[in-house]
Amino acid sequence: MSTEEIDEASYARILEQRARRLLQTVERVEHRHTIAVLVVRVANDLVGICADQLDGAVELDTVAHLAGAPPFVLGLAVYRGALVSVVDLAAWLQIGRVERATGLVVVATHTQEPVAFRVDTIEGVRSLPAQTLDQSPSGGPAPRALTLAVTADLVRVLDLSTILTHPEFAPRGRR
């Protein structure tokens, strides 16, 4: 059938249908690009951390206090045979402080060296569309943690790399 045989209204309807199908395809593709986010509870706040930034989660029985370290560092522990510093995520985010150094930690790696973040609980893993997490830091002073997104149920998804590279995070060590 040639185009000459279709009236204008039918032509418009066909184009609209094609456009809708095309849009659905794009949406399907976009939804397939999701990122797994580990949701943890920190001082009554829900915080999300992209799972690909994490190395693991363990329960620490002992944490050795390191006198002279910055206040948000709870101490040192052993993780997979290596020394790791344990950071109070609540203290770093300035939203509270854990009661004890030992307990649950999620471990991230920076330049192939681990660092453990003390959290209260792990609430689960969510899949979030990648596009919602596509944020880049704005100008001005470096934030203590860039918030990539806040979900409908108030999970604040953090960009861990902004913490790990923050000047105050490793004031004397190398970054």
Binding site: T62, A64, H65, L66, A67, G68, A69, P70, P71, V73, G75, L76, A77, V78, G81, A82, L83, V84, S85, V87, Q94, H110, T111, E113, P114, V115, L164, F169, A170, P171, R172, G173, R174, R175
Partner: protein, 736 residues
Amino acid sequence: MIDPRLLPLLPGFRAEVAEHVDYLQQLFETCDSLAPERWQADLKDALRRAHGVKGGALSLGYSGLGQAAHVLEDALAHFQRSAERPDSEWRQAMYDVAAVMRAMSEHDPGGDAKVGHDKVAALAARVAPFGPITEAVEVAPRAAAIRPALEPAREATGPGADPPNRAAVDVVRVPGAKLDRLMASVGELMTASARCGALAHAWSQDVEQLAEFLPKVSPSVRRELSAVLSRLEHQARRARNEQRGLQQVVENFTGSIKSARMIALESEVPLWRRTVREAAQLVEKEVVLHVDVAEIELDKLAIDQLSQPLLHLLRNCVDHGLEVPEDRFEVGKPRVGVIEIVARLRGTQVELCIRDDGRGLDRALIEQKAVVRGVVRAEDAAAMDDDAIFSLLFAAGFSTRDAAGPLSGRGVGLDAVAHAARQLGGSARITSQGPDSGTTVTLLIPTNIASIRGLLVRAEDGTFVLPLDAVERVTRIGVADVKALGGRPVVQIAGDAAVRLCALPGAAGPDAPSRKGRFPIVAMRRGEERLALAVDEVLRDADLVVRPLPWNVRGTPSALGGVILDDGTVAILMDVAHLFETGIQASFQSSTEAAAPAWTAAGETRTSGAAAPRRLLVVDDSLTARALAKDALERVGYSVELASDGSEAWERLQVEEFAAVVSDIDMPNLDGIALTRRIRGSARLAHLPVLLVTTRNAQAMIDEGARAGADEYVIKGEYAMNALLAVLARQLGKAS
């Protein structure tokens, strides 16, 4: 015949030449694609490398290699001067000479002159039209003495040429990072082995416990149980024996790795010589460097960390320490200045002395600069001995020069050396015998820093390692043995002079309820200084593998590293130098000698307490200092009011209530000491905690503050805010 003393140096030299040739050849291959600035920078580096090969070659008697490197240096210098890029023919010619240099280095000294002469001659012919560019090549006197007559250059490589020295292939260069990873793995192996031993031991104990039940069971069960227990006991014994065998293997392995990490100090000598020569040329002085470091080896990490600071120090010696020839002549010294580097083994440490015969240290000038820069007060400086005054030169940024020169004067050299020595668990000292008698910097560096023999001690905050070579003795004392001297706790051990007493982080104070009987103290020594450290428990001494602190807490002042113990917990290796320094900054509580002294946690800068908001009055004439203090204190829950001097503070204290006063000392109108006296003189305010905060770490100032009635004293500086928070929490806890 090659001098047998030079033989050990050849493998290292060959490896160095190979590395430089790799660099040069890569540069010739890629120079077309480099940006102009990068090309200039790389060209400079290439020149340095060619020059380095030339110097090493001539010192070892490689005349041919020295000549080849010289020609290449000329070619590189030509391109540096002309700012042109070499065309393909030039690049090929330089590439070939670099290859010849590598081939020459694989021969013994003397045999190199026969190799690749045509390539060198071809490049020399290319360079010749541009005239002499760098200084002529001479065989170094040392090499000349070994081989007075060098054979003339003969034909290039070919069937008749000597075969390369195969000994070169016995040297394998391993990247340092691989050795570090290997050492870390050994540490894990040691830990795993120790855990296996502990498990086997626990297994044996369980078997013994079960055996106690044998008499209580029926004979038939007893027979069965006895047989099972016997088998278990046998297996447990075997497991223990196997573990001992494993432990031995691990120890041998550890020894081998430690040995592989050891690098001869001699390897740094060419760099030292080059640095001294270049520095001397730059400031137009005549200097000779004597080195005596034979057979001394240091851990790779120590060599790495000391390398650059030592170069700083040598430049400092040339620029700052030695006089210009005319001045030397006037005071009856030879025109040529002498720098001497001597290394000796002292027990488990290497003593490295860097001496010059220059003008020596001027005590009066150092004192004057220190007073002008506010490092010390004039009256305190006058009371300090020479060692204390000279040690001010180790402070960051401290220089007696008014302006920085091309080599020194930024106050970096000595600071960098002392910092590196400390990071390695060693120490640095600077001495001078007086005007015109030179200066000596003495470094004490542990020979092996990857492992340490340490004393494991426990306090409430965890387990700590004290380096055993700093431990003088371990004893127990009672609360009554703790006295106060100048407001600070001291203890007398075995009739010796009174020693400062401080505590490990978290260790209970002498007046704590837990201190009912006698408690252990560890007497420590650093040079002439002594310190007694109260601990809760002394565990044992052991060989321990030290791991560097994690990346984000590296440089924490109180700790040098961590040790993973058999039970998987972490012990902190304490920085002895920091222990002594924080001990010096001991807090005081009372102005009377009789009262119980305050208990200072050595190295402690932890933030603690501050649970309930308290209203503080911060007094400081510096706006920045006030703002910083307010921000930090409010962040942890304090309510903060500000006053810009003692007078304003005093007025506010008359009408307002505060939980404590945090005051600077030097302020206009009414200073911190006078403010403290007024507070103590007031019936209403007499018990108000007063904390003095200042940049001055001087005993006289501490004593003056104590006499005025201040409760604590915090030295401004890095992490000072943490220290302030800790003492605030302590004082307010006491007050409540």
